[in-house]
Subunit: 449 residues, 2 copies
Amino acid sequence: MVRKIVVIGSGAAGLTAASAAKRRDPEADVKVFTEDEYIAYSPCVIPWVLEGKLTWKDIVMHDTSFYTRERGIDIRTGTKVTAVDGTSKTVTADGTAYEYDALVVATGGSVFRPPITGVDLKNVFVVRTIGNGKEIEKAMKGSEKVVIAGAGVIGLEMALSMRHRGKDVTVIEMFDQVIPRIADKDIAEHVQRYLESFGIKFVLNEPMSSVCGDAEVKWVTAGNKKYECDMLILATGVRANLEIPRMLGLDIGKLGGVVVSNKMQPYRDGKLVDDVFVAGDVVQCESAVGTGPTMSQLGSTAVKQGLVAGKNAAGADAVSGAVASPWVTVIGDVHVAGTGLSENLAAQYGLKVVSGKAEGFTRARYYPGGKRMTVKILADADTHVMIGAQLIAGEDATGRIDWITEAIIQGTKAEDFLAHAENAYCPPTSMVRDVVISAVDDLCNNLKR
Amino acid sequence: MVRKIVVIGSGAAGLTAASAAKRRDPEADVKVFTEDEYIAYSPCVIPWVLEGKLTWKDIVMHDTSFYTRERGIDIRTGTKVTAVDGTSKTVTADGTAYEYDALVVATGGSVFRPPITGVDLKNVFVVRTIGNGKEIEKAMKGSEKVVIAGAGVIGLEMALSMRHRGKDVTVIEMFDQVIPRIADKDIAEHVQRYLESFGIKFVLNEPMSSVCGDAEVKWVTAGNKKYECDMLILATGVRANLEIPRMLGLDIGKLGGVVVSNKMQPYRDGKLVDDVFVAGDVVQCESAVGTGPTMSQLGSTAVKQGLVAGKNAAGADAVSGAVASPWVTVIGDVHVAGTGLSENLAAQYGLKVVSGKAEGFTRARYYPGGKRMTVKILADADTHVMIGAQLIAGEDATGRIDWITEAIIQGTKAEDFLAHAENAYCPPTSMVRDVVISAVDDLCNNLKR
């Protein structure tokens, strides 16, 4: 009998799950329902498209006919799932009920809209879909002053993109630093100063308190000050889309995501649900640093979980481990990356943290074209286990943060890392002792104190 | 009482040890004896200097007065140690006997000269010191045809350097592939084809059998064929310099290096020697993949071991773990890297190997400027533990090979890596699922067969 697999959502988790399921069981009937118009693109690239480095056409890798033709997957775009019934195992869309043997819920998240007046005015945008991006692009033509609410990674990427397009840009952030949740203040200040060098303005320590205008946004307020703008971009974080999970009665965790097992199966009243798999931004999963649940909400995590959800929906027994959630962004000429806990997050969990830091270069000190690199590594003061890191470099941050992530996921003590870690060396690509190892050396010295 | 520390050798291991010892015990009397004229440079960069990308001046980071002034270390260049007495604990140089409390032996290695006639002719060179490099530079002026004996990493770097300087270049290698010891044939062929695209010629599967000429080299022979040249560069591997270790009666291992503990202490008749530490190319150390002793002979390993030797010579209790010996080179626009065992090395140890491979890009598929990347990962067919990897990419190979190295050192099974590994993602710096993880996915599929 043909296995019927239904996927709800066409983001990184949903499409990956659909392809993985079909690869695992080529006979399966795989259907994807999505409200989106475009599929198979990375929302993370939108700031660069708006900056003009790529076109919308560049970033859409496939259309639905590709999936039908090449992978035998039936994708229904612009289609809202109106009902899901976990007992009869049906998904209803466009008035038709479709049966499933296995259901993958990959409904993703939506940008959080602060509960203040005016956020529904014209020229107030979020950055989530190509549709959002095209709206922003259209509005940019008549826009001079842009306010970005939220100084997280997306907010900063959008700020520089708009600045590069000649706009007057102000970023408003309620916390006292940029990238407040996942970066430490010393690293964040470095990034902020760099963005200020392009003429971007920052208002920190003040939440945006109102959005004003008649039909269109004219100004926002923060800390009793008024900031004029003709465009407001909300980069205020992402919340899980829980409508479908709630229809299924799935357990929602304290962080607002669907609780899942390492096989990406959800729970109902504390019991595993066998025929449903959940992946991506809608999920709350375990942290690899042992601090309980976390919302990863990264494209890379969505793909990793989507693969496991898709394979398992097609009868496999794959697992996806706890996450350290490494991230990287490129701000102008600077790569900024991190993994695991920041000092702020560690403090929230009541962890006492010791850090180490080193500065150096991405190539041998004397080799032409090398860029500065700063690495900061955090360890639990009690156990000495490495729990987080951040890195700023003019190039090649990504592989290095993945390297540290591997050590963090394996629960490595700083002293053990120092004893065993090795780096490949060639003058055009690294220092003879990589800055990552020097940072851990500093960390070990600080742990001794 | 002031601790007297003597270091023999001023390469990466020796100078690192001297500095580490002084940092650990600022009161110590630290002396370095070296036959070299120049110190504090990376021999690895010589091919790029000869190509014209840097000058000799660029690559010498410090002179002896820097070490005296800034670090309080007394360095005697151009000074041969003529005797070492482990009983009276003295080192003799320039006719004077210097007492030591702790001795660091970092005598490095020398290029192996094949035992054939003619290798002592004029215009036959090795690439090991700045002195060697300057000799080559001088001879290049009148040279048109260059033969490189040995297609290892140094041989290939020199081949491309000479080719970029307009020479007719032929590489002769006794094995049937380039980078024969540490790269697999499929990866090596890729590198060879790329070098051939510059016009470099290869003679494989034939050892160089004679070097001919009157005073100067005129041709070499290999497989009964004659290859004309006015310069011959021997890139025929490095052998440990054992003169000093033999004076001390230290145990020499079966691979021809000094056997050491993880504290970099040598043995005499199987017993640990307390007051001597050995580091760098002269050392035989344990392999992280559990196959017994290995000769790492990398600059990065020398620094790692030198740090531990230096700290311990000054009374610390540091350790240096077993090594996977990650390496990287840049050949034209291509970064080639590896770690752990190759298929050839694994076969020598009688290991049955399964491999996985993936191709992709260094950035998101659609992002401008991304380069191709191929990753191959090897696992032990019985245990599924990852034991080696190789990577070719147009950029950013180094951090990624360090990442895989960390997993290999920790003895990670392929399936466990696939379940837990995460990569940071941003369209300008990586694919949403890094090629490294895709390669391990392929490996896991192949292990199931």
